[in-house]
Subunit: 391 residues, 2 copies
Amino acid sequence: MRLSNTITTITGGGSDGWDLFVKARKMIAEGHHITELTIGEHDIKTDTRILEAMHAAALGGATGYAMVPGIEDLRQAVATRLTTRTGVITTPDNVLITAGGQAALFAAFRAALDAGDTALYINPYYATYPGTIRSVGGVPLAVTAEADNGFLPTFEALDVAAAGSGAKALLINSPNNPTGAVYDRETLEAIAAVAIKHDLIVISDEVYDTQVWEGEHISIRALEGMAERTLVVGSMSKSHAMTGSRVGWLVGPEAAMGHVLNLLTNTNYGVAGFTQRAALFALGLGEDFEAEIGAPFQRRRALAQKALEGQNAIRLSKPSGAMYLMLDIRATGLSGDDFADKLLMERAIAVMPGESFGSAAAGHVRIAMTIPDAPFEAAIKEIAAFGAALA
Amino acid sequence: MRLSNTITTITGGGSDGWDLFVKARKMIAEGHHITELTIGEHDIKTDTRILEAMHAAALGGATGYAMVPGIEDLRQAVATRLTTRTGVITTPDNVLITAGGQAALFAAFRAALDAGDTALYINPYYATYPGTIRSVGGVPLAVTAEADNGFLPTFEALDVAAAGSGAKALLINSPNNPTGAVYDRETLEAIAAVAIKHDLIVISDEVYDTQVWEGEHISIRALEGMAERTLVVGSMSKSHAMTGSRVGWLVGPEAAMGHVLNLLTNTNYGVAGFTQRAALFALGLGEDFEAEIGAPFQRRRALAQKALEGQNAIRLSKPSGAMYLMLDIRATGLSGDDFADKLLMERAIAVMPGESFGSAAAGHVRIAMTIPDAPFEAAIKEIAAFGAALA
């Protein structure tokens, strides 16, 4: 079968970065006990009330084709949410419901790129970013955010990359996966300045916006001159523990949304009405519910901070948000890959090598805070002891 | 916002063909009573047993990220289904679960086309086909299937189009929306010969495969030399009245599916586990259930045949399958557009102009058999009288 070049080059060659995860899963299947700190998914299931709302909607008849832009009530709820949280007046005409945040991200890149166009993204990065750019025929170009700068990108690095590549778009993600960084206003203003200077569309992945433990979440769309050039990716997955339901949204200028709607007709032809109703119900549970979903990560972050206090071999990169910690293990002299592999084999703890998320996270490992507090704390203490013995 | 050329040209300009539908819906909103024969969606809802299975799966914990290729049991069930129905040995490695048939169609075109590549499709056609091709940067080229040839494409027309365009792919759809044609073996063999001659990937949309009222459904994938160059699009929407659930599949060679999986990671990151479990349950209801879902269309087809017997002004194009009838109204001297508009305004019946589905259906109107038998029969009789008065 004579496949397209686009589809055969989506991964960009090489490892997909999940080797350690796969190895750990294999060991578990063989009967080993492994503590897994790898996956960005809550250790709780979707709340039963949300599932009951979904079932009621389905029994009530929300089983036919839903309107492709999304059901009006949910678009309105998302619009209200963004208006409230960011101060940018947002209407349902700015909102399209998508089959998860990933579908919104894909749509955003299709909106921004023709084949051969370059898009910038920040290294370290979430696993799907470069592949998503390649999936629309785009060329991904990583811009390094240095570990020693708190994994924050700089004006200089972005400016050079944009000028050199003629990029059309720039993807950012704050709160950040994998680093836990939350971009401060100064960083976001630098990004905005680059975007305006080089006429870039900014695609802002804000799926962790309810999980900020230090500082505040600022949407770049709220900065001056940015609403007209920003596409915001949102999702119910992380904020409401609805990862499997695949409900997200893309928010942007009304005219752009009109074009993206034509794409959504051809990619998914809408999102199930009953899952949209479930999302609407979940949003109606309000901020207390979102705080409840985020609380375990905040708690475990504090446990980790305490357990790693005074450690020299293993340093906790400032974990300001999201459900991850990035540990700087450079003092051990090992790469993230080697550290993670050794930790798995010798201490039966699985963490993700920083290298899996890009060269900028080399010498680090990512911890997903997605297991209950007691084993989580025990694992962090074990990692600390392991690191100390190495250094 | 400097949007991509790809996204701003998805519709190809001009009307989207749904003007009459929109007009009818507006009249209904204003309080007019309109009989709607426009929409390709069952007049029943998804069976409650399926919804209960979905709810049980959700409560049972199928709310986290599902495996991106689809859950193993569903891939196996689809594989078994295709093996049984087509005789082509199909394994789970040949199957990827998608967010509806449309998502499978999109993935198939991404697999086949790079930007600028041409794909052939048959005119008349389902509304999303050219836009889906444009959504991956492809160039759609319609090949006419003449009304007077039962809306079946010919070797000659396809051969000329493939040779002239250097096309990479060909999309077919049997049983056909909008025409109700079911491609016979001779037609499929002609298509296969063109595909082999020009090294085309054939994308075969078979979502109506359980709705055949005359003849038999033959999958082109079962023809000699075709399994290795065919991607089959399937769906639960039409066969199981699950339109809103958005569960479908793409079936093809294992190596190709490996590449398409990389795309699905970046488009939707999987399909909700609970809807996949619902689909698995629905497939388990067996052929009797599928026959039950299709029966109303078969019944209404017979009613229409009887009502239109001996009519000269309005002739029923051989309706061999699916949930549609195509009426040839050329003897009235009106275009499909004018006939449909006049019928709406004078008799309060909404049908789709053939022109909405491409020039090859000019002078026809499409009837969706998606209202209960009694009003359906009355509407057909009314259309017959209306046509007779015009001629």
